[in-house]
């Protein structure tokens, strides 16, 4: 094995080894478990950094595969590693964010009875995501895809002894699984057509000189996108993500930035050559993502829970990434994924500091508990919000600008206008969150509680401050990324000012100004325009009633089907086996009476039978 391939394998092996060691042997030793998990991520970070350096040449990629399942009369199924600049960068982002979240968790989760288990699951998450990013064929991607789902299920339901996290974990698992049915079918179709589903082969087969018919490509693209929609919380399948906030806050940071939801977007970027061969499907994806982005932005405008605001904003930003990919630019979509990973992890970790301090997720409650005393939290929340809203010179500005430029280039005026509207809404709900959480004037009673910073607090603050600094740096990586991924023909660099950036900045400024008038300034009403209309507030706050719709239709049908299945199981299947068992017992009781233990009764029976036999033999005229 060559060095880069070895590094790619090492990046996956280290978290896996840590996960197994912790879950098998270190459950009772939390400090050792946390240390081992963090160490494994340091190793993975080093390995992926090496990968980024190695592939710093445009359009280079490495494939190393070995046979896994030789099939008689057919090509062998293989597994291995495949990476190009896209996968290498993504793996570095995954390792970096996971490491930051782990360091933060040292403080946030300190004293939790499941501390060791928590770090084992985090290592599992990192392994699954790195495996997904570096996988060489789609069957392998599917395996890690499901492992990512499993890890998020375990972490969302980390406090499984409470009913809400357990229900949220179930919902997340089932909803993403619903989409994965399509993903599985798509992969199976590809394997049937190609014999295996190695990623470069799939892309080549869908190209102009490939063997796939446009119709086949479109079918498989739709099936794969079903999995993407479930995983990346788009369209009708997004309602699991706000509920997933029941997990520990650092888990939300991980789930929302570099793992889980990013998996769907990453897959579209990875198979972009394949999806680009189905332009109508991409057009549908563009509009689905656009509607999702706008709809969830309205939901974020009325949410009261700081983590739910962030969750809706994640769905909205994922919509932007998918829009850029659907409009044809891997660079813009992936650039936004990278910057978003940085600032969304930052926002969650910063909000976690407030939540840790105030013991509440409600923004209006946090506001009464002296949020300004949490310096690192304030710095993180403000810089993350500036990046999310897209204020120059924070990272979100550059990537969102790249997305909008791509849309302006390839997607038509209507889509571009709606995307601009979404950018304005983003700025509005982001700063509504900031000013609701950290009011300008003092709100409520002032409680003076002197709090000596502990080692755990320092770990949390360090993670947040590093990520805050990154929001100022990541934006300038657009050119670097474009040089390595750039084969899409969108020349619009992050610094090319035209009319577009000014429109976006004006809308962002308008959004922030509206938020200032309604929430920020002294004597503000602290209630937004949408919150003042009860019908709108209920509609937005209730996920556009989608959950109720599902409850009235799918959930009810599913429950009815389950009831019928339970009846069949209990009455028909169990009844049959119970009947056989009780029939045997009953028959045994009857027959046991024959064995009375009285010798003379036996003799009587024996002689009667012999006599009967004799009579029978005489009547039929002798022995046969």
């Amino acid at each position: 094995m060559s060095g880069p391939v070895l590094a790619a394998v090492l990046a996956q092996a280290a978290p896996l080894a840590a996960c197994l060691t912790i879950l098998i042997g270190l459950r009772a030793r939390p400090r050792a478990a946390a240390g081992l998990a963090t160490l494994s991520l340091v190793v993975a970070l080093g390995a992926t950094a090496y990968l980024v350096v190695v592939v710093a040449v445009p359009n280079v990629h490495w494939v190393a595969q070995t046979t896994w399942l030789p099939v008689a009369d057919g090509p062998a199924l293989a597994f291995g590693v495949f990476f190009d600049p896209l996968a290498a960068t993504m793996s570095f982002v995954v390792a970096f964010i996971t490491l930051a979240v782990m360091v933060y968790s040292l403080g946030y989760m300190a004293g939790d009875p499941g501390f060791a288990r928590y770090f084992g699951f985090l290592a599992l998450f990192a392994w699954a995501m790195l495996g997904l990013v570096l996988a060489s064929n789609l069957l392998q991607v599917l395996v890690f895809w499901e492992l990512v789902g499993l890890a998020s299920f375990l972490l969302i339901g980390f406090w499984f002894e409470q009913s809400a996290p357990a229900a949220a974990a179930r919902k997340a698992f089932l909803m993403t699984r619903a989409g994965d049915v399509g993903f599985l079918l798509g992969v199976l179709l590809l394997i049937r057509a190609l014999g295996n589903a190695t990623i470069p082969d799939v892309i080549a087969a869908a190209g102009p000189a490939g063997i796939f018919s446009p119709r086949f490509t479109a079918t498989v693209a739709i099936l794969l996108l079903m999995g993407v929609i479930g995983k990346s919380a788009q369209g009708p399948l997004f309602t699991w993500l706000p509920d997933a906030m029941e997990g520990p806050t650092p888990v939300s940071a991980l789930l929302h930035s570099a793992t889980m939801v990013a998996a769907g977007v990453f897959l579209v970027a990875r198979l972009h050559g394949f999806f680009a061969a189905a332009p109508e499907v991409m057009r549908g994806l563009l509009w689905l993502a656009l509607v999702t982005a706008l709809a969830t932005a309205t939901m974020a405008m009325v949410a009261e829970d700081i983590k739910r605001v962030l969750a809706y904003s994640t769905i909205s930003q994922l919509g932007y990434m998918l829009m850029a990919l659907a409009a044809g630019s891997v660079t813009a979509g992936f650039f936004h994924l990278t910057t978003h990973a940085g600032f969304k992890a930052l926002l969650f970790l910063a909000s976690g500091i407030f939540i840790h301090h105030a013991h509440s997720n409600e923004m209006r409650v946090i506001a009464t508990k002296q949020p300004r005393s949490q310096r690192a939290g304030v710095i993180g929340l403000v810089s993350g919000s500036l990046a999310l809203a897209g204020v120059i010179p924070f990272s979100g500005y550059f990537s969102k600008e790249a997305v909008l430029a791509t849309l302006g280039h390839n997607a038509g005026t209507a889509a571009l206008a709606l995307a601009y509207l979404g950018a304005g809404l983003t700025a509005y709900y982001t700063f509504r969150m900031v000013w609701l959480t950290i009011p300008v004037g003092a709100v409520g009673a002032v409680v003076t509680a002197h709090h000596e910073p502990s080692g755990g607090d320092r770990a949390m603050a360090a993670s947040v401050l590093v990520l805050s600094a990154l929001t100022l740096v990541l934006g300038y990586l657009g050119g670097w990324l474009a040089a390595r991924l750039g084969h899409e023909g969108v020349e619009h660099g992050p610094f090319a000012f035209g009319a577009g950036p000014l429109v976006a900045l004006a809308l962002v400024a308008a959004g922030i100004a509206l938020a200032w008038v309604e929430f920020g300034r002294r004597g503000a009403a602290r209630a937004g325009f949408a919150e003042r209309v009860p019908a709108l507030r209920d509609f937005f706050g209730d996920n556009w009633y989608l959950d109720r719709l599902y409850g009235a239709t799918l959930v009810r049908w599913g429950t009815a089907l389950s009831r019928a299945a339970r009846w069949h199981d209990h009455t028909v299947l169990d009844g049959a086996s119970d009947g056989v068992a009780s029939g045997t017992v009953w028959g045994g009781r009857i027959l046991a009476r024959v064995q009375g233990g009285y010798v003379q009764a036996y003799v009587a029976v024996a002689i009667s039978l012999i006599a009967a036999l004799g009579v029978w033999l005489v009547r039929r005229g002798g022995l046969p």
Partner: protein, 101 residues
Amino acid sequence: MTVASYLFVAACLFGIGLYGLLQRRSLVAMLIALELMLAAVSINVVALTTLAGRDGSLGQVVALILVGVAASEAAIALSLFVAIHRARHNIDVEQLSELTG
């Protein structure tokens, strides 16, 4: 005397023996009844050999063997009865019902 009269005597003996075997509760009495049934069989063997037109001595030899078998059977059975009596102090067959199903 015809063969039928021998068979009639044998049938009577067999019936008496069967009645005793089923009716008496003492193991010794049951054994005696069993010997009666065996004797009936011996008579049948001797009589029926003659009826079949064979040499009469063949049946008599079989009857002698049966006497020997009956003697050894009685010896084994009586020794078992003694053992049972030692263990339980009675030989009432109705009390020996541990092996119920």
